[in-house]
């Protein structure tokens, strides 16, 4: 049952048809609705899609048109997507929380005439922008609640649309099949709008070939079968969701499960127990925090047990996953732990059945990463973006580590530009930015290389390491690469360090300003019976300095492992006397460090660092919560950190 579909199934509608042939009765999609998991098998799904497609045809949807789809993870979203594609139209997913203004731009940019939306809320939003967005002709809605008294001619319920479709289908048998037959792998399959940091969003156009090829590559690597269960809980407008819960489902023929409501996702996850799972690092982080918090309230015995077995897991779990040798006693210990801790924990997280779990998007802390793997959850990193149809690099089983994103996936070529930017050539690259040749030219070279905008390099094992956004990467005076964010992340992975600012661009060495994590360090201090009056005092303590110095030197140690970064080891550092704060402009509102600003604000300190002083008096304005401003002043110690000789391993 788990063979890949033939290559002749080269568009999503054809893939759908293929599954109707080979696994008509297997579940294709489930939705927790009215208290139970309503299930549709592939035959039924095909029927729904067919009806919708015909319906859309009656409403004048033509090949090449764009269809806006605004909704949560509901079966009809999938069906509508497939239906549009059956007609050769291009579905454009939009986020439910998109503002009217954003909608206006997209609707105009893609000349959208047909919109398929979830409910009254979205209907209102679309009607509101009708004037500006011009040519909206049809709005179809899934949930009729509250819409009974709407009289606008554009409106129609999906149920009605399907009726029309069925009648039409009955009248013109073969029409839809003909339309599907017309589809070509090179046609645009879907369009995804990326909200660029500046300017208007850009519509990323992907062809069937691109999406299906990447989906297939992923499936083959992980040997995904039609037995997989996935939980569709991320916004459908996001390409990742489209790949994991649409493209790959259609390639491997597995079942997609839609949660009942936003509020019930965790419960639904526990019920379904997905076997194939994706989440951004922050989700894993939140889960872990909730686990630790809940364990806090547990009784002595349980806490002891938990602590002990997590220790065992830390030692053994990862190795077992990687198939590395483990002593018999450890295996037995782990088995016991699995019975009374890991197993129940996985169950509570809804991950008992997870075979493959991905994370991507940003760097993930090694401890966090190891925690899940030690539980026996096969968490792996992948690298990709909207423009690359996600799959560029994936860590294969057995070659997993916290700081790489794995080797390039089949069909992908990588090269590093001299400015350190990662260049990608892959069958999954975007066709173009819709109606934006300028932007397209910026990212796509004539010979088909894509500018990822990320700085990275391939390590000794040929695994890709992403270190920073290319534009943030600088150079040390000696010309060596300097990637501040990478260093800062490494520092921030230590629980004791809240924020860090690495300096060194066009300087002879790297120095760091560090914020301690008040709570963690506070606890640490109390355990040692150190008394302290407040942040400034604590930050000034010699013991704390030692503590942080350890962290810094650990970072240096593994920086030394990477020849390109060996020179970026932190020579000197200090602990700031105040917490970096958005109110003082040191962080962005999304709490990212504003490196430049901090550099200027604390110029005296910076000078002191590079001037080789051993301490420096400083006085700073601060805003308090209540808006008053005051001053903090302190004499800050400045320390040297041990550095290590760069290990020159043969690559």
């Amino acid at each position: 049952m788990n063979g890949m579909p033939p290559t002749t199934a080269d568009t999503f509608p054809r893939l759908l048809a293929h599954h109707v042939l080979v696994r008509a009765e297997r579940p294709a999609i489930r939705e927790k609705d009215l208290g139970i998991w309503q299930t549709w098998n592939w035959r039924q799904v095909a029927g729904e899609v067919r009806a919708l497609a015909c319906g859309l045809a009656t409403q004048g949807l033509k090949r090449g048109d764009h269809v806006a789809i605004i909704g949560a993870n509901r079966p009809w979203v999938t069906w509508a997507t497939a239906a549009a594609q059956s007609l050769g139209a291009i579905p454009v997913g939009l986020y439910q929380d998109a503002t009217a203004a954003e909608l206006v731009y997209v609707f105009q940019n893609a000349e959208i005439r047909h919109a398929i939306v979830e409910d009254q809320e979205q209907v209102d939003k679309v009607l509101e922008i009708k004037e500006q967005a011009g040519q909206i002709a049809h709005i179809f809605y899934g949930d009729p609640r509250g819409l009974r008294h709407y009289i606008q001619p554009e409106l129609m319920a999906l149920t009605r649309l399907k009726e029309l479709g069925r009648d039409f289908d009955a009248a013109n048998a073969g029409f839809i099949d003909a339309e599907v037959a017309k589809g070509k792998p090179g046609d645009a399959a879907a369009m995804f709008y990326t909200s660029g940091t500046t300017g208007n969003p850009k519509g990323v156009v992907h062809t069937y070939a691109a999406l299906i090829d990447r989906a297939r590559a992923g499936c083959e690597l992980e040997r995904l079968t039609d037995a997989e269960e996935v939980l569709a809980y991320l916004p459908p407008a996001w390409i990742g969701q489209n790949i994991f819960s649409y493209a790959q489902a259609l390639v491997a023929g597995f079942c997609v499960n839609c949660p009942e409501a936003a509020g019930t996702v965790t419960v639904d996850m526990r019920e379904i127990g997905p076997t194939y799972y994706f989440a951004p690092p922050r989700v894993y982080e939140n889960l872990l925090t909730s686990v630790t918090i809940r364990m806090e309230d547990a009784g002595q015995v349980k806490r002891g047990m938990f602590k002990y077995f997590m220790g065992v897991a830390g030692r053994v779990g990862g190795r077992l996953l990687d198939g590395a040798p483990v002593s018999l006693t450890d295996r037995m210990l782990y088995a016991i732990g699995d019975l009374c801790t890991y197993g129940p924990l996985r169950n509570a997280l809804g991950m008992s059945r997870v075979r493959v779990a991905y994370t991507a998007g940003e760097a993930i802390g090694p401890d966090l990463f190891r925690f899940y793997r030690s539980l026996g959850i096969n968490l792996k990193q992948l690298y990709g973006s909207t423009e690359t149809a996600v799959f560029v690099c994936v860590q294969p089983d057995g070659q997993v580590s916290a700081d790489t994103v794995g080797p390039p996936l089949v069909g992908v070529e990588l090269k590093i530009a001299e400015n350190g930017e990662l260049m990608i050539k892959s069958p999954g690259l975007l066709k173009e930015y819709y109606k934006n040749p300028g932007a397209t030219a910026e990212v796509l070279t004539n010979d088909g290389w894509y500018h990822s905008g990320d700085a990275g390099f391939l390590d000794a094992q040929g695994h890709l390491r992403i270190i920073d956004r290319a534009k943030d990467v600088g150079q040390l005076a000696n010309g060596a690469m300097f990637a501040p964010k990478y260093i800062e992340n490494k520092l921030k992975f230590f629980p004791f360090i809240k924020e860090a600012v690495a300096l060194g661009d066009r300087r002879e060495m790297v120095c760091a300003l560090i914020n301690i994590e008040m709570e963690a360090v506070g606890n640490w201090a109390e355990k040692r019976g150190l008394s302290y009056s407040g942040y400034v005092d604590l930050a000034g303590q010699a013991a704390v300095f030692e503590l942080i110095r350890d962290c810094v030197e650990k970072v240096n140690a593994d920086l030394a492992q990477e020849e390109k970064l060996a020179d970026s080891q932190i020579r000197r550092f200090l602990i700031l006397h105040k917490e970096l704060d958005a109110d003082d402009g040191e962080l962005t509102r999304t709490s990212k460090v504003r490196r430049g600003f901090v550099g200027e604000k604390f110029s005296t300190l910076v000078d002191a660092l590079y001037g080789g002083k051993s301490e420096q008096y400083v006085k700073t304005q601060v805003k308090f919560e209540d808006g008053r401003t005051g001053e903090v002043s302190a004499t800050l110690k400045i320390m040297d950190a041990k550095t290590f000789p760069a290990s020159r391993k043969a690559a």
């Binding site: 269960e229 019920e271 309230d297 349980k302 938990f306 197993g343 129940p344 169950n347």
Partner: protein, 358 residues
């Protein structure tokens, strides 16, 4: 801890409403039943069967009946043993007058007769609540006691006033060894427990609980107190009747009205208080408790006596039993009104949440 519920999702209401929703629970129960049927017969001694297992099963049945009335419908009964005696004497007379009847038929008929009487004595519940109803049921207790003690016809004019039963014969299978009796009772009790469970999860059970929890609201949404309460009395008395018949035929063999005295009624009440109001499982737990406590006391006390160097009389044992019962009732009413069954379900929840505390 032993629960692995990922992937146990329900894709139909049938599945969602089934009795044991969680796979692990199903395994546990099936294992338990298998053990009771296959292993116990080889493990237990005749004494075990006679003195513990059979009485336990039968009073469990009676307790379930009482629980349906008190725990689920919120109508108190202090005279349930009387309904048991109705069942017992009904069965006796049926056997006397229609010897050819199959025992199962006899049981069921006895149940119906007792249900009839139960309904009659349930009539006051339409007029009066709580305490008052308690007294009404006491009336049932004493009146019925008297009837069987005095009206000779019921005891088939036996001079001593006590009756004794022939051996049980169903469809050719003569049930006389303790093991056979045990197996028969076990089968019957399981079936009836299942029926009770079905009732309380259906609309009839819900109408009972509605009367219990908030009778005015129940009426407002269209539940007829007459139906709800009387059906509860009838079903409850039916269970009591069957239990009574079994008690007489299988456990006692021969008995007199005193066998179903007010104290028996009170003990049944204690079973469901300790075991758990509104819980079928609780009825079993409570029954086990009340059956085992006296026996253990009688076993343990002399031993303890020897330790402390004084010998406790059997009288003392019985007094102690009284005190412990009394204390336990108060303890549970104050500390855990839902009884041991509640503790059980809490424990289960803890296992499901393991390793988290909540």
């Amino acid at each position: 801890m032993f629960y692995r519920e990922n992937g146990q999702f329900k894709s139909s209401y049938r599945e969602d409403q089934q009795l044991l929703g969680i796979r692990q629970d199903r395994w546990f129960i099936f294992a338990l039943i298998a053990f009771a049927f296959l292993a116990v017969p080889y493990l237990a001694s005749d004494y075990m069967f006679r003195a513990i297992l059979i009485p336990f099963l039968i009073v469990s049945l009676a307790a379930i009946g009482l629980n349906l009335l008190v725990g689920y419908c919120g109508q108190i009964s202090l005279g349930h043993a009387a309904f048991m005696s109705v069942g017992a004497y009904a069965a006796y007379n049926l056997v006397v007058h229609f010897p050819q009847l199959n025992f199962i038929v006899v049981l069921v008929l006895a149940g119906f007769i007792s249900a009839l009487i139960g309904t009659v004595f349930g009539l006051p519940s339409l007029q009066i609540k709580g305490l008052y109803l308690g007294v009404a049921t006491l009336a049932a207790q004493f009146f019925i006691d008297w009837v069987f003690a005095r009206v000779k016809w019921f005891t088939n004019y036996s001079p001593s006033g006590s009756v004794s039963t022939a051996q049980i014969d169903m469809l050719g299978w003569t049930v006389n060894t303790p093991v056979e009796k045990y197996l028969m009772v076990l089968a019957i009790v399981i079936v009836f427990a299942l029926m009770a469970k079905n009732l309380v999860r259906g609309h009839i059970g819900r109408s009972w609980m509605a009367m219990r929890d908030m009778d005015v609201a129940a009426e407002v949404i269209g539940i007829r107190p007459v139906h709800a309460k009387l059906s509860a009395f009838a079903v409850s008395a039916f269970y009591a009747g069957v239990a009574g018949a079994l008690w007489g035929f299988v456990h006692l063999g021969s008995w007199e009205p005193a066998a179903f005295s007010i104290n028996f009624s009170l003990n049944l009440l204690f079973m469901i208080i300790i075991g758990g109001m509104g819980s079928i499982l609780g009825s079993f737990i409570g029954a086990a408790f009340i059956v085992l406590l006296p026996i253990t006391l009688n076993q343990v006390l002399p031993v303890m006596g020897r330790w402390v160097g004084m010998n406790f009389s059997t009288a003392f044992a019985s007094h102690l039993e009284f005190m412990i019962f009394g204390a336990l009732i108060i303890f549970f009413l104050v500390v855990e009104p839902l009884g041991l069954a509640r503790l059980w379900s809490i424990g289960k929840e803890k296992l499901r949440l393991w390793p988290f505390p909540h």
